[in-house]
């Protein structure tokens, strides 16, 4: 059913999921204002936030089911399959993180239920960012997300590391959004438009001026920071290690997903004409990111830091599909983000439980002999590692294979080779985790006795691990769905100008 975005009714309809989630955020905020004393409040706040996500997801599903299409120009927010898929992905990640953090916060003694509204608002920011159809919404979505995540990163006030993480993330984040904003300004200057499709048409019509190139460059810098590509990655390891573990999971999966989805949309709709300009940039970014990310991860001992560098490396792999700039590329990004987020959520879910109450960073040596004490947890973490490694039989492999396929079909051969060199290096830090847990004996008698897996977390992780294996062997439905939504990205019909 076509929606006329210019009319207020149409706009509210288009923004339905975001509005629903914001409304629920306020509801939780109100509830939290009065109940923020004990664990029970935390649990109910968590429950409410999850209900919020479900409603938002229902709204997205309704819009998608009704086949919402913009009538004429898609004004502020995009209305296509790609947005609905992104929203679903982001909502799923947020819900999973919320489930993981319920018990974790209580055990860490952070009795501040404001955590959940913060999380919901961050998710709204992400949805806006991923679904933006013009530069203003893009900027706003980005800032709403960033500011909420700055706060979430520093949520554990008792630990200096968390505060330091928040500070670093804030300073460099603000600095990066300055660049992005300047890019938006210059792009606006070059075309006089904010809307993606109009700018795209403008660039298609006239050769790019210096201002347009600078604008695009700065926007790319902004995005490069957000996806933590080398050399803009320096903040990621410190912030991932300092932030509370559920938030690290959120940043590694959610924030990165939103950034990539936005990047794909921008490159597909705004800069399709300048493909020959930005492809070398993406190529350079991808190559360095894969190599530096994987190599540095080799020498890490703390699990969270190692996963941080692996996140950087996976950003590099994703850039392969971004470089492809094709329908397969977009679908590959969607699939890989889903695979990656499922794996990261499961991995961090298990790591969060392994972390003792003292929130000491979990070192590789702490995992030795886990198999004998906690067989299912260690099998779960091993499967996550194999999925990150891209080992056949796991969803990660399907993701990586699809990335390579997209890049190769677009004619790029060097990047896939670098990607596989990267994944060969990555066995150097994924395998020792599996090895430590299964083959090595536990260091001390009561090594893992204090680990307790709260039921909700155990269910969430269980579902994720099962998904990794199931989709690893039978990914057909998910792949078909992703390719259908990806195709819709490019065909938003435009009244004026060639496509």
């Amino acid at each position: 059913m076509p929606i006329d975005l210019s009319s207020p009714g149409g706009a509210t309809l288009a923004l339905l999921p975001e509005l629903v989630l914001t409304f629920w955020a306020l509801v939780v905020l109100m509830y939290v204002a009065w109940h923020h004393r004990d664990g029970h409040d935390m649990r109910t706040a968590g429950g409410l936030s999850i209900v919020g996500y479900i409603f938002a997801a229902a709204a997205t599903a309704w819009l998608a089911w009704r086949g919402a299409r913009p009538e004429g120009l898609s004004f502020m927010i995009a209305l296509d399959g790609f947005r609905f898929a992104s929203d679903a992905l982001l909502l799923w990640i947020a819900a999973a993180v919320a489930i993981l953090s319920v018990r974790w916060l209580i055990r860490q003694g952070i009795l501040a239920p404001e955590y959940y509204p913060m999380l919901m608002l961050a998710t709204v920011g992400m949805m806006l960012l991923a679904g933006a159809a013009d530069l203003i919404t893009l900027f706003l979505g980005l800032e709403v997300m960033s500011i909420s995540v700055y706060v979430l990163a520093g949520f554990d006030r008792t630990r200096r590391a968390s505060a330091e993480a928040a500070l670093k993330y804030f300073l460099i984040g603000a600095f990066a959004s300055g660049f992005l904003l300047y890019g938006i300004a210059l792009t606006y200057g070059a075309t006089g438009q904010f809307n993606f499709d109009l700018i795209g048409a403008q660039f298609a019509a006239t050769p790019p001026t210096l201002m347009a190139k600078l604008g695009m460059g700065l926007i790319l810098v902004g995005f490069a920071f957000k996806i933590a590509a080398v050399p803009f990655h320096a903040w990621a390891p410190d912030v991932y290690e300092g932030a509370p573990t559920p938030i690290t999971a959120f940043m590694a999966s959610g924030v990165k997903a939103a950034a990539f989805l936005a990047l794909v949309r921008v490159l597909a709709e705004v800069f399709p004409a300048l493909v020959d300009l930005w492809r070398p940039v993406i190529f350079g970014l991808a190559a360095i990111t894969i190599l530096v990310g994987n190599l540095t991860a080799l020498s890490q001992t703390s699990m969270k830091r190692m996963l941080a560098y692996s996140a950087i490396a996976h950003a590099g792999y994703l850039l392969l599909a971004v470089w492809a700039h094709s329908d397969e590329g977009t679908a590959a990004v969607l699939i890989y983000l889903l695979a990656y987020s499922v794996t990261i959520v499961a991995a961090f879910g298990i790591l969060a439980s392994i972390e003792r109450a003292g929130a000491r960073t979990v070192r590789l040596t702490d995992l030795e002999g886990l198999f004998s004490v906690r067989p299912f947890a260690s099998i779960g973490l091993s499967i996550c590692m194999l999925s990150l490694l891209g080992f056949p039989g796991t969803f990660g492999f399907i993701g990586k294979w699809y990335l390579l396929s997209a890049a190769l079909r677009a004619g790029q051969t060097t990047l896939p080779v670098i990607a596989m060199v990267g994944s060969a290096i990555s066995i150097g830090y994924y395998l020792p985790v599996v090895l430590a847990m299964t083959l090595k004996p536990a260091r001390t008698r009561q090594a893992h006795q204090t680990i307790r897996f709260p039921r909700p977390a155990r269910i969430a992780v269980g579902i994720c691990v099962f998904a990794i294996l199931l989709l690893g062997v039978w990914p057909n439905t998910v792949l078909n769905f992703a390719t259908q939504t990806a195709v819709q990205l490019r065909q938003s019909e435009l009244p004026i100008g060639p496509r």
Binding site: A224, A234, D238
Partner: protein, 656 residues
């Protein structure tokens, strides 16, 4: 009847399997073992005789007997497990089963007290199976099964008493030397197949002439490769070192394998592929020279050995040299003739030595003296106690020295004659003839020395042991008598013309070697006067040798090994076999072991490929990783600088 030739192989195979089972399940059932062991050989001999006279009446020169399709690989290569019975293999069949049967009978007595009795007979029967397969094989690969099979059995039998390290080492050395030879046969097979497209003996003889011009290098290469195999198997220079050590096995084994049958396989192979050798005359010269050289050198070593079996071993090497000389001159029939007669008298000598050793061992055992039963210095004067053995060994000695009318004279003389005749065309053969004559002299000398030291003079083994000395039981002397008769009458099968004989063997083997003789320039006939001179020279050499040997030994005072002084000078070198073994050890064995341990394993494998190659890349990656983490120094200022540098780089690539 000829189609039943596979029975000759089946009997010993059944015997081997039966005895093996007995060895594992009930090793003590000695009588059953001996009945199966000898009975099976008797059966094989009967079949052999049947096949022989069937062949006599059969017009076809050779009869193929296809058992099953062994390797149907493709349309141009399909090897069948087939036998081909021709005149040559019929003769060999008789020799193997006949002499083999006698030796089996002898072993019954000789090995009676040995706990591994059943195992011994299992191996011996298995050996006969492989020897027959070798002789009867229709194509090179089938014969190759026999060829390596006999190598296997000689390994098992030499190392029969495996408790003593020296025996196992000797077995291993024998097998390795054979394997070096087998390498040659393998390469020859590949060359043959790629050039002629067939591996069948009949196919080779037919196609060789058409494909290879006379003196072609390919034929030469094949011939030399085959000859390398023969030197390995028939213990010629340079691969003869294993035969003397092979005496570590039980004496009947030495008689059967290292005198009568296996070692002659080399000569058989050369005759079988004679057409290829004929196409490369140079190869025949090589065969002749190596034969003559081996004959001379081995005989010289034999002069100074004290172990009775070592003397006989070197004598075998020397006589094999004769056979190769015979074949090398193109007189294939004379080579085979000497092979047959040698089988008789050498088997007799070995078995005689066996009964001597058996008796001495028995005596020293009772006298509780630990003297070596094989060392001739502990013997002497055994004529009084072992008259039968003495007389039969005397007959054998006369035969081997070439004293007429014994068989040895005819076969050796024919080879000398052929060498001299060929010498008129190529001077190299004259040198061979001279060497052969010298070897004949030395053969007579050391045989007489052996006889004198063992049977004549005073018994040096101590009087207490003397009472227990007695001649061997009939099961052991019986076969000796038969062999004695054969040594005497052996010459009859190929009496030369000047004695009025018809040279039956020559005509019998004619079809086998016909193509080869066609391609070669025929042997010039040595007419009356010089022929007579030749024969007299040979007889003189034999006589001088025998008398000299007897005279020198009986005059010298022989001391027991404990008292005898250390050898010195030239004789010391001869005693130590010209240090050839030590030379091989230093030049070939030690460097290979050093190369594989130090260089290949520790350096290349462990260090270069493993630590440097694989470990190196791993360490390189970790180093880069460490560098990366140094980059992450926690300073916000540094992060932001990296950020700015990255931004500038991106903008520059876009603007440019």
């Amino acid at each position: 009847m000829v189609q039943l030739v596979w029975l000759a192989v089946a009997f010993p195979l059944f015997g081997a399997v039966a005895n093996a089972l007995l060895a594992i399940r009930r090793p003590a059932a000695k009588t059953a073992v001996s009945i199966i062991g000898v009975g099976v050989l008797a059966g094989a001999f009967v079949v052999a005789v049947g096949v022989f006279n069937a062949l006599v009446h059969d017009p076809r020169p050779s009869v193929p007997v296809v058992l099953w399709h062994w390797m149907p690989v493709s349309e141009r290569l399909s090897i069948d497990f087939a036998f081909r019975v021709d005149h040559l293999s019929a003769i060999m069949l008789l020799v193997i089963t006949g002499v083999g049967g006698l030796i089996h009978l002898f072993s019954v007595g000789y090995m009676r007290s040995d706990p591994g009795y059943a195992r011994y007979f299992a191996y011996l029967n298995l050996f006969i199976v492989f020897m027959l397969v070798l002789v009867l094989g229709a194509s090179l690969p089938v014969s190759f099964i026999g060829w390596e099979g006999v190598g296997l059995c000689s390994y098992l039998l030499i190392g029969f008493w495996y408790e003593i390290d020296a025996n196992s080492d000797a077995g291993k050395k024998a097998f390795l030397a054979n394997r070096i030879g087998d390498f040659g046969v393998l390469v020859a097979m590949f060359l043959l197949w790629w050039h002629l497209g067939t591996l069948d003996f009949v196919g080779i003889t037919m196609r060789a002439g058409a494909v290879f011009p006379i003196g072609s290098s390919a034929a030469l290469l094949i011939a030399l490769a085959l000859f390398l195999g023969c030197t390995g198997k028939s213990a010629q220079i340079p691969l003869y070192v294993w035969l003397p050590d092979a005496m570590a096995g039980p004496t009947p084994v030495s008689a059967l394998i290292h005198a009568a049958t296996m070692v002659t396989a080399g000569v058989f192979l050369v005759v079988r592929t004679a057409s290829v050798f004929a196409l490369a005359p140079v190869s025949l010269e090589v065969v002749a020279v190596v034969g003559a050289l081996t004959a001379f050198v081995a005989a010289s070593i034999g002069l100074r050995q004290y172990d009775i079996k070592k003397v006989l071993a070197y004598s075998t090497v020397s006589q094999l040299g004769y056979m190769f000389l015979g074949v090398g001159t193109g007189a294939f029939a004379s080579g085979i003739f000497h092979l047959i007669t040698h089988a008789f008298f050498k088997a007799l000598l070995f078995l005689g030595a066996g009964s001597v050793i058996h008796a001495l061992h028995h005596a020293f055992h009772h006298a509780h003296s630990d003297a070596d039963a094989q060392d001739m210095r502990n013997m002497g004067g055994l004529r009084r106690w072992m008259p039968w053995t003495f007389s039969l060994m005397l007959v054998a000695t006369l035969a081997i020295s070439g004293v007429p009318p014994f068989s040895g004279f005819f076969s050796k003389d024919e080879i000398l004659g052929a060498a001299f005749a060929r010498g008129t065309q190529h001077p190299i053969y004259l040198v061979c003839w001279a060497l052969a004559l010298g070897a004949a002299l030395m053969t007579a000398f050391y045989m007489a020395r052996l006889l004198a030291m063992t049977f004549l003079g005073r018994f040096r083994g101590g009087d207490k042991a003397a009472e227990y000395l007695h001649d061997a039981p009939w099961t052991m002397t019986g076969p000796l008598v038969v062999l004695g008769l054969l040594s005497v009458l052996g010459g009859v099968i190929n009496l030369p013309h000047f004695v009025g004989g018809t040279g039956w063997l020559e005509r019998w083997l004619a079809p086998v070697t016909e193509t080869a003789r066609m391609t070669m320039t025929p042997l010039p006939e040595v007419e009356g006067a010089s022929a007579l001179l030749l024969i007299s020279l040979a007889v003189a050499a034999a006589a001088v040798g025998l008398i000299g040997g007897w005279w020198v030994t009986s005059r010298a005072t022989i001391l027991t090994p404990a008292q005898s002084p250390e050898e010195h000078g030239f004789w010391r070198a001869v005693y130590h076999k010209y240090y050839v073994d030590e030379l091989y050890q230093k030049v070939f064995v030690n460097p290979t072991v050093w190369l594989s341990r130090r260089v290949l394993w520790q350096t290349v494998d462990a260090f270069l490929v493993d630590r440097l190659g694989v470990g190196g890349t791993a360490r390189l990656a970790e180093g880069l990783g460490w560098l990366g983490s140094r980059l992450q120094n926690g300073q916000v200022a540094f992060y932001v600088t990296m950020f700015a540098v990255g931004a500038v780089l991106i903008l520059r690539t876009l603007v440019r």
